[in-house]
C-alpha cells in the first residue's frame, strides 16, 4: 500500500522524518528543583535558576537522566555513557537564559529502532537517529492585554526528550503509526504521559518528496509543533502535494520552517533559511559531561516493564491471536491490562473478539476511555464464562452486555433476574422444533428440495418461541435430524 502522488511528469513518493518532543515525567525540572506539575498558577513554579537570575547555575536532575535511559532502552537504542550538554543560543522573551540547554553532537541516546504495526497486520522498522535531553521554554501569552505580552515561566526548564527519527517513513499512515507507537512505548515506560493535546508530546514534521524509484534526499521543509496524530498526517499530505506542485511548476523546494494551520489543514511558511537562527551551539561550561557507568544502564534495563512489542509477541505465541488483533490490544497499556483480565481463564480469542468488537464499539459510542468503561474487565470475563459453560448463548450474551453497559451490574445477576438462562432441556427444545416444522410445510418442502439456507427460518421460529433462550447448537442439531429424517 504505497503512497504515491501523481505529478505531471512522474509519480512521486514522500520521505518523512519526525522529531518528537516528549515531556519527561519527573517531579522537578531538568536543572532545578522547581515543580513540574501541570496547570499551576502562572509563575508559581519558577526557581532562581529557571528565571536565569545572575550567578545561578544548573544542576542535572538524576531522575530525568534515568527516564532518558529508560526511553532509549525502550527504543532498542544505544545508550551513551558519556554525553554533553550544549547551549543553543537565541533570544526570546520566554527563554530567560537566552539559551536553551540541550544536547548537540553528543546525545545521551544513539541509534535505535521503532517497529510500526500497520493496519494490515504487517510491521515496518523505522530507524531512530538519537534521543537527547533538553530544557523546555516558558510560555508567551499574547492575548491577555492589547499592548503587552505576558510571560509564564512555569514550563521553563521542564525536561524534554527529543527523539529524532531517520527519514524512513513513506506515507502519512506510517507517520501516524510512528507517533502512536512512540506514545505507546513512553506510556508503557511511564517516562512521558504522551498527551499530545496537553502539549506533553509535540512533533516537528520533516517532509521532502522525490520521484518514485529515486534514492536521493531532496530539500525538506520542517513543520513545527504539530500537536495531534491527525494533524501530523494532514500536514504531511499537504506538504507532499505542495512540494510536488512546486517541482511540477519548475520551481525548487526551499529549506524552511513552516507552521501547520489546523483550521485550514495547511502549512504556511514561518521563516526561510536566510532568516534561520544560527544557534551557536557550544558545550555548556556550567555543566560537566554527563557520565555514568554500564551498571546504571543494566539496573534500569532489569526494571523495564514488558513493552508493547514483547506483549504483542506473547499474545500471538501463547494466546494464538492474529498479529492484527494482538497489535490492537497492546497499543494502549490500559487496553492490554483490561484484555488480560477478561481473558483470564477464558478462550483468549473469544476474549479478543469481545474486546475489539463489542467493547470498543460501545466505548466509542459512549465516548469514554477504557479506564472509564461502564463494564469492568472482571464482569466482561464473567460474561464470557457464562457463554463457555453454556449458561447463556452468544446471542443472549450480547443482550446481557447491553444491560451491563446501562446498569453496570454483574452479568450473573442480570441473567438470573431476567430469566435469560439458556434452555438446554431437550424436551422443551424438541417441542418448539416440532411446532416450527408443523407450522412451515412450505419451508419443509423447500428444504427437502435442496434449499439448506431455509434452515435459518426454522431456527428463527424456535428462538422466537423460546425468547432466544434455546441452546442454538441443540436447536440446529434437532432441526437437521428431523428435517433430514
Amino acid at each position: 500500500m504505497s503512497y504515491v502522488i501523481k505529478g505531471e511528469t512522474c509519480d512521486w513518493e514522500v520521505v518523512i522524518g519526525l522529531e518528537v518532543h516528549c515531556q519527561v515525567i519527573s517531579r522537578s525540572k531538568l536543572f532545578s528543583g522547581a515543580s513540574t506539575a501541570f496547570g499551576a498558577e502562572a509563575n508559581t513554579q519558577v526557581s532562581l535558576v529557571d528565571a536565569a537570575m545572575p550567578g545561578m547555575l544548573p544542576v542535572i536532575n538524576e531522575q530525568c537522566v534515568r527516564q532518558a535511559i529508560k526511553t532509549g532502552l525502550g527504543l532498542k537504542a544505544q545508550i551513551n555513557t558519556r554525553s554533553v550538554f550544549a547551549r543553543k543560543n537565541y533570544f526570546y522573551a520566554d527563554l530567560p537564559q537566552g539559551y536553551q540547554i540541550s544536547q548537540a553532537d553528543q546525545p545521551i541516546v544513539g541509534p535505535g529502532t521503532i517497529i510500526l504495526d500497520m493496519p494490515d497486520g504487517t510491521t515496518r522498522n523505522i530507524g531512530i537517529e538519537r534521543l537527547h535531553l533538553e530544557q523546555d521554554a516558558g510560555k508567551s501569552l499574547h492575548d491577555q492585554d492589547p499592548k503587552r505580552s505576558f510571560i509564564d515561566l512555569n514550563r521553563t526548564g521542564v525536561a524534554l526528550m527529543e527523539v529524532v527519527s531517520d527519514p524512513d517513513m513513506r506515507s502519512p499512515e506510517e507517520a501516524g503509526a510512528y507517533l502512536r507507537k512512540m506514545r505507546s512505548i513512553v506510556r508503557y515506560l511511564e517516562t512521558c504521559d504522551g498527551n499530545m493535546d496537553q502539549g506533553s508530546m509535540r512533533c516537528d514534521v520533516n517532509v521532502s518528496v522525490r520521484p518514485v524509484g529515486s534514492t536521493e534526499l531532496r530539500t525538506r521543509a520542517e513543520t513545527k509543533n504539530v500537536n495531534s496524530v491527525r494533524f501530523a498526517m494532514q500536514a504531511i499530505e499537504f506538504e507532499a502535494a505542495r512540494q510536488v506542485g512546486v517541482y511540477d511548476g519548475g520551481g525548487e523546494v526551499v529549506q524552511e520552517t513552516r507552521l501547520f494551520d489546523a483550521q485550514k489543514g495547511e502549512t504556511r511558511s514561518m521563516r526561510s533559511k536566510e532568516h534561520a537562527h544560527d544557534y551557536r551551539y557550544f558545550p555548556d561550561p556550567d555543566l560537566l559531561p554527563l557520565v555514568f557507568d554500564q551498571a546504571l544502564i543494566d539496573e534500569i534495563r532489569a526494571s523495564l516493564p514488558e513493552l508493547p512489542d514483547q506483549r504483542k509477541d506473547r499474545y500471538i505465541n501463547t494466546f494464538g491471536l492474529s498479529p492484527y488483533d494482538a497489535g490492537v490490544l497492546v497499543a494502549d497499556k490500559d487496553t492490554a491490562v483490561y484484555y488480560e483480565t477478561v481473558a483470564q481463564g477464558r478462550d483468549p480469542k473469544l476474549a479478543a473478539n469481545w474486546v475489539i468488537s463489542n467493547l470498543f464499539a460501545m466505548l466509542k459510542g459512549h465516548g469514554v476511555a477504557i479506564a472509564d468503561s461502564p463494564v469492568s474487565a472482571a464482569h466482561l470475563s464473567k460474561l464470557l464464562g457464562l457463554i463457555a459453560d453454556e449458561t447463556i448463548s452468544g446471542r443472549i450474551a450480547k443482550d446481557v452486555f447491553e444491560i451491563m453497559v446501562e446498569s453496570g451490574d454483574d452479568p450473573e445477576k442480570i441473567v438470573a433476574e431476567k430469566g435469560l438462562r439458556q434452555i438446554t432441556d431437550s424436551g422443551a427444545i424438541e417441542a418448539a422444533v416440532d411446532a416450527a416444522i408443523a407450522a412451515g410445510t412450505k419451508q419443509v418442502e423447500q428444504y427437502r428440495g435442496g434449499n439448506e439456507k431455509i434452515l435459518g427460518w426454522f431456527v428463527g421460529q424456535v428462538m422466537k418461541a423460546t425468547q432466544g433462550k434455546a441452546n442454538p447448537g441443540q436447536v440446529n442439531k434437532l432441526l437437521k435430524d428431523k428435517l433430514n429424517g
Partner: protein, 498 residues
C-alpha cells in the same frame, strides 16, 4: 600601636582575641576610612549598617567565648560581582540597574558564616571585563599608589582590573581584605598593581554559585589580602565543595594557614623560558631574577621549564572567554530584572536595553564571542581555541612532573596612568599575558608584592602550582614575602612604614 586600618587579618584576630579592640571598633574605623577615601572610588555601595550589625554580632560571640574562627569580626570588602542578599549588586554595569538579589552567593555566605563583616561592594570592570578598572559604569577606580619619580608623577594611576576596587580598598586602608574574582588575571594583576597579595585558587576550589558569570570555565573567586598568611586564612573560609555548582570540586579544604610553615627547602621551582619575552621591562626581569635568587637562598632548586604553547594563550583566551560571555550575558535582556529601555517591538526593546545597558568593552566581547561561535567559524575559532587550551594544560602538566611550583612575573608592567591604553584594547589585553595561561589550565596562582620599580610603584611576582595544591603555592609565596620584606604603603618611600 598600628592603626586599626593597617592591621592584617592575623593581627586583628589576635587583637580581637586579646580584647585590644572590638569588631565594632574595627568596623567603625573602616567605615570612617571609606567615608574619607571616596576619591579612590573603590566602592560602588558601602554597607555601614550591615557592617555594624555583623560586627556587633561578632562581638557578642566573642563575649560568649564562641567566636566562629579566624575571620570572625574581620572587616572585608566584597567585589560587586558576588550577589549579596538585600544589597544592590551591579557587576559594574548599568544593565543591572537597581538589582537587589534575594539570595547570597555561596562564597559570600561562607565568609558570612565564618563571621566576616561586609563593609560594602567594591568597584570592578564591567562584568569583570578589563585590566584597568576603567570599564565600570560607576567610573574608574584610582590606585592609592602614586609615582614618586618619572613621567607618571602627579598622575592618577589605574589599580588594574577587573578586581580593581577590591585591590585599591585593601591597599588604601578601606578594607582589611577583599574578595576578588579571576578569569584571566583579574585578582593577580590588580594585586600586583596595588602592592597586595591576590590568590586565584584552582578552578573548582570556590563555588561560582551566585557570582555573576563572565566566563564560566575560567571564573574563580579568591582572596585579596595584605599578606600571604591572610590569603591562607581567607581562602579557608571561602572554599569548599558546593552541590549547587556542578563544576565545584568535591575535594576537602585543607587548613591552609597551618600548612604555611615557611619551609621551602628542597622544593624545585620552575622558571618558564617562554615567559622571557623580547622587550621585557628590565625592572620586571630584575625582580624576577631577584625572586629566583631569594628562593635559591631559601633552599629551593631552580629549574628552567618549557611551556611551549604560551604564545597562543592570549589568543585562545580571547576566543574562549568572550564565547562563554556572549551566552552568559544573554540573560540581561530587560525582561525580568535590571534595566529595561522600552521599544516598539521585542527586538527593539532588546536592542535599546542592551545597547544602553552594556558598555563598549562588554559589547566588544559579546560581538567577538558571538562571531567565534557562529556557524562556519566555530571550528576555526572556538574548537581551535579549546585545543590550544588542552595543549597549554598539558604544558603545565609536563612541567609539574619536574617542578613543585613555577615562578613568573605577575604582569608585564607596573600600574599605568588612568587614560593610558584606553583606546587600544589589544594593548590592554597584554596585561594578562603572564596570568592567562594559568587560568586556561585551571591552576592556582598567587601574586605577591616583591618590590618597587624606579618610580616607586609596586611589582608582583606570581607563583603557580599544581591543581588543588594551593598549600605549596602559599608556602612558596610566603618564603618570597619573607625575603622581599615588602612593607611599603602607598604614597610612602620604600620601607618607610616598617
Amino acid at each position: 600601636m598600628t592603626k586599626l586600618t593597617d592591621l592584617t587579618i592575623a593581627g586583628a584576630r589576635d587583637g580581637l582575641n586579646n580584647s585590644d579592640f572590638s569588631a565594632t571598633e574595627l568596623a567603625e574605623a573602616y567605615i570612617q576610612a571609606i567615608d574619607a577615601g571616596g576619591d579612590l572610588n573603590a566602592y560602588i555601595t558601602a554597607t555601614p549598617d550591615v557592617a555594624l550589625d555583623r560586627a556587633r554580632a561578632s562581638d557578642d560571640r566573642r563575649a560568649k567565648d564562641a567566636p566562629l574562627g579566624a575571620m570572625d569580626g574581620i572587616p572585608i570588602a566584597m567585589k560587586d560581582l558576588f550577589c549579596t542578599e538585600g544589597v544592590l549588586t551591579t557587576a559594574g554595569s548599568h544593565i543591572l540597574d537597581g538589582f537587589v538579589p534575594p539570595y547570597e552567593s555561596t562564597v559570600s555566605a561562607n565568609l558570612r558564616s565564618a563571621g566576616a563583616v561586609m563593609l560594602g561592594k567594591t568597584n570592578l570592570d564591567e562584568f569583570a571585563m578589563g585590566s584597568a578598572n576603567i570599564t565600570s559604569y560607576f567610573g574608574p577606580v584610582k590606585n592609592p599608589w602614586k609615582a614618586q619619580s618619572g613621567p607618571l608623577v602627579g598622575k592618577d594611576l589605574v589599580p588594574g582590573g577587573s578586581s580593581g576596587g577590591s585591590a585599591a580598598a585593601v591597599a588604601g586602608g578601606l578594607a582589611m581584605a577583599a574578595t576578588g574574582t579571576d578569569t584571566g588575571g583579574s585578582i593577580r594583576q590588580p594585586a600586583s598593581f596595588c602592592g597586595i597579595v591576590g590568590l586565584k585558587p584552582t578552578y573548582g576550589r570556590c563555588s561560582r554559585w551566585g557570582v555573576v558569570a563572565f566566563a564560566s570555565s575560567l571564573d574563580q573567586a579568591g582572596p585579596m589580602t595584605r599578606t600571604v598568611q591572610d590569603a591562607a586564612i581567607m581562602l579557608g573560609a571561602m572554599a569548599g565543595h558546593d552541590p549547587k555548582d556542578s563544576t565545584s570540586a568535591p575535594v576537602a579544604v585543607p587548613d591552609f594557614e597551618a600548612a604555611l610553615n615557611g619551609d621551602v627547602k628542597g622544593l624545585t621551582i620552575g622558571v618558564p623560558k617562554e615567559y622571557k619575552m623580547d622587550a621585557m621591562d628590565p625592572e620586571i626581569q630584575a625582580l624576577w631574577d631577584q625572586g629566583i635568587a631569594w628562593l635559591q637562598a631559601a633552599g629551593c632548586t631552580i629549574k628552567e621549564v618549557s611551556l611551549p604553547h604560551t604564545k597562543y594563550a592570549l589568543a585562545a583566551y580571547y576566543i574562549v572567554a568572550p564565547a562563554e560571555a556572549s551566552a552568559n550575558l544573554a540573560r540581561y535582556d530587560g525582561v525580568r530584572y535590571g534595566l529595561r529601555v522600552a521599544g516598539d517591538s521585542l527586538d527593539d526593546m532588546y536592542m535599546n536595553t542592551r545597547g544602553e545597558g552594556f558598555g563598549d568593552e562588554v559589547q566588544r566581547r559579546i560581538l567577538i564571542g558571538t562571531y567565534a561561535l557562529s556557524s562556519g567559524y566555530y571550528d576555526a575559532y572556538y574548537i581551535k581555541a579549546q585545543k590550544v587550551r588542552t595543549l597549554i594544560a598539558n604544558d603545565f602538566k609536563t612541567a609539574f612532573e619536574k617542578v613543585d611550583a613555577i615562578l613568573t612575573p605577575t604582569a608585564p608592567s607596573a600600574a599605568f596612568a588612568l587614560g593610558e591604553r584606553q583606546d587600544d584594547p589589544l594593548a590592554m589585553y597584554l596585561n594578562d599575558v603572564f596570568t592567562v595561561p594559568t587560568s586556561l589550565a585551571g591552576l592556582p596562582g598567587i601574586s605577591l608584592p616583591a618590590g618597587l620599580n624606579g618610580a616607586g610603584l609596586p611589582l608582583g611576582l606570581q607563583v603557580i602550582g599544581r591543581a588543588f595544591d594551593e598549600a605549596t603555592v602559599l608556602n612558596v609565596a610566603g618564603a618570597l614575602e619573607t625575603a622581599a620584606c615588602f612593607h611599603a604603603l602607598p604614597g610612602t618611600d620604600k620601607g618607610a612604614a616598617s
